[in-house]
Point group: C2
Chain length 264, copies 2
DNA sequence: CGTATACTTGACCTCCATCAACTGTTGTGG
DNA sequence: CCACAACAGTTGATGGAGGTCAAGTATACG
């Protein structure tokens, strides 16, 4: 059985962050140790805790070492929209502009462990010349974040429930695989159907039926907080999923674990 | 009658850009003349022209001096999703990261006049210390762009057709008012119902019916490429519209033309 | 055990899409 | 100046995707 917050293989809990950054740009040893050192200042929060509040002045940026969170907004009548999921290795509130306010609330969806990312922010934004790799990795991470928002808009605006679900699952598989938390077919998904509904702009009931349809068609299995995509290629085709465009001609970090159409 | 691309009052066509930037941060005289100088290198494109292509390497950043454009993506089966509208004064492809690829296509919706924004990009990103105002304005512009994407996600995920339409019109009114192209109730809207449909994730027919409902309720009038919001407060209340949070405590530029709940 | 939380299922309804036709409105060329 | 495309907008009829309501059944947890 998968656990929601599998610890990276190495001993340092900040290793996920390093993996993430290495997938975005080449990271030197000196940079790596700066990143790993952040693992010392940890904070644990229970599911449901607010990590960043909408409208609060930004505190210090954070990275997620384990657990899942989401950025969302709640309408006055209680409707909620989730903008993006935050998975281990991701940063929250890490932003080049002296962002006066966050436009969103960040909430822990499981028990989470975070670390203070100020050292990373300082290295990337204020001493970018010294820390070229970190600077570039953080910059690319920002570009990917924006790409993910755009994908989300397409899902919500122009895709059916079935396509939205398939597309989101593939995106999560991709993001988790980068930090070593997903195999080609299987990954943890500690989300309730209600949370999926709030992300996909659907009702809980319809999320349930959509998942059942995918199961009936033999495309996935879900149990104990983990999903298995039985035929990822079919989902890719059905939802027009594509990975973010290649980062650049020469500067990829890790080799990709798998491409948009994995050999199943 | 309103024209779609009213020229700013001043003689220099780049004055809209200056207005936009001044609304975001204090701009010095030296910075202002740098901005106005960009007006010299103009380019005119017909409606339908592609300003930036998805996947192309970014050319030079541009600012829009007149006309309207949109950033969008087209799915393989022809469905189209518009992410955001680009109105006079806005920049396209202006980005701190050496963004290798644009995730979107930018298309002219009317005849447009653009100018090369490289001087602005260079001042803001490479000589930020010399051009503090520009640097800050561009940075805030980026934050507002992101906020607008988030609003769009909420519209598409959690609002009804009626709410989406009201919310979008209020956003456009706000953005145009900043550059002096909207009065409190009236502004140009050179968009077909098809374009609105592609932005709002609706069908053309339903956009038509939604507009008719708004008209029947005496909330707006549309003719000759311009809208008049007869009771903006009602639209604000119906769509839970709110302006982007205050930029910061002390550094606002222009006074706002009107706040979220204008005295109608 | 018993309570809370998540998931499941059925019945019903509504919002919005689709299809198809029709009505302006431009603008262009004969 | 009119004919007629071409396009944007309008309208009705119909159906389907997905929402809502309500009741059930696991599953976890103290």
């Amino acid at each position: 059985m998968f656990k929601a917050d599998v610890r990276p293989i190495g001993s340092n809990p900040a290793e996920v962050v390093l993996r993430r950054l290495r997938s975005l740009a080449p990271i030197s040893e000196r940079e790596a140790s700066l990143v790993l050192a952040m693992g010392a200042q940890r904070q644990t929060l229970p599911a449901g805790a607010e990590i960043f509040g909408q409208g609060h002045l930004v505190g210090r940026p954070k990275v997620l070492l384990s657990g899942w969170a989401c950025r969302c907004r709640v309408l006055p009548d209680g409707r909620r929209q989730i903008f993006t999921f935050v998975v281990p290795g991701d940063a929250v509130g890490l932003c080049s502009r002296p962002d006066p306010v966050l436009q969103t609330t960040t909430i822990a969806l499981t028990k989470v462990i975070t670390a203070d990312a100020s050292p990373l922010a300082e290295a990337a934004f204020e001493r970018g010349a010294e820390f070229e790799g970190l600077c570039q990795a953080v910059s690319v991470a920002g570009a990917l974040d924006e790409a993910s928002l755009l994908d989300h808009i397409v899902r919500l605006g122009r895709q059916t429930a079935y396509e939205r679900m398939a597309h989101l699952l593939l995106e999560l598989r991709w993001r988790l695989s980068v930090v070593g938390l997903a195999s080609e077919r299987r990954f943890p998904l500690p989300l309730t159907q209600e949370v999926l509904a709030d992300a996909l702009g659907l009702s809980i009931v319809h999320v349930n039926r959509t998942l059942q349809q995918l199961r009936r068609e033999g495309l996935l299995e879900m149990r104990a907080g983990a999903v298995e995509l039985l035929k990822p290629e079919v989902l890719v085709a059905a939802s027009d999923f594509r990975l973010p465009l290649p980062v650049s001609e020469d500067e990829a970090g890790d080799e990709d674990v798998f491409r948009a159409s994995p050999s199943a």
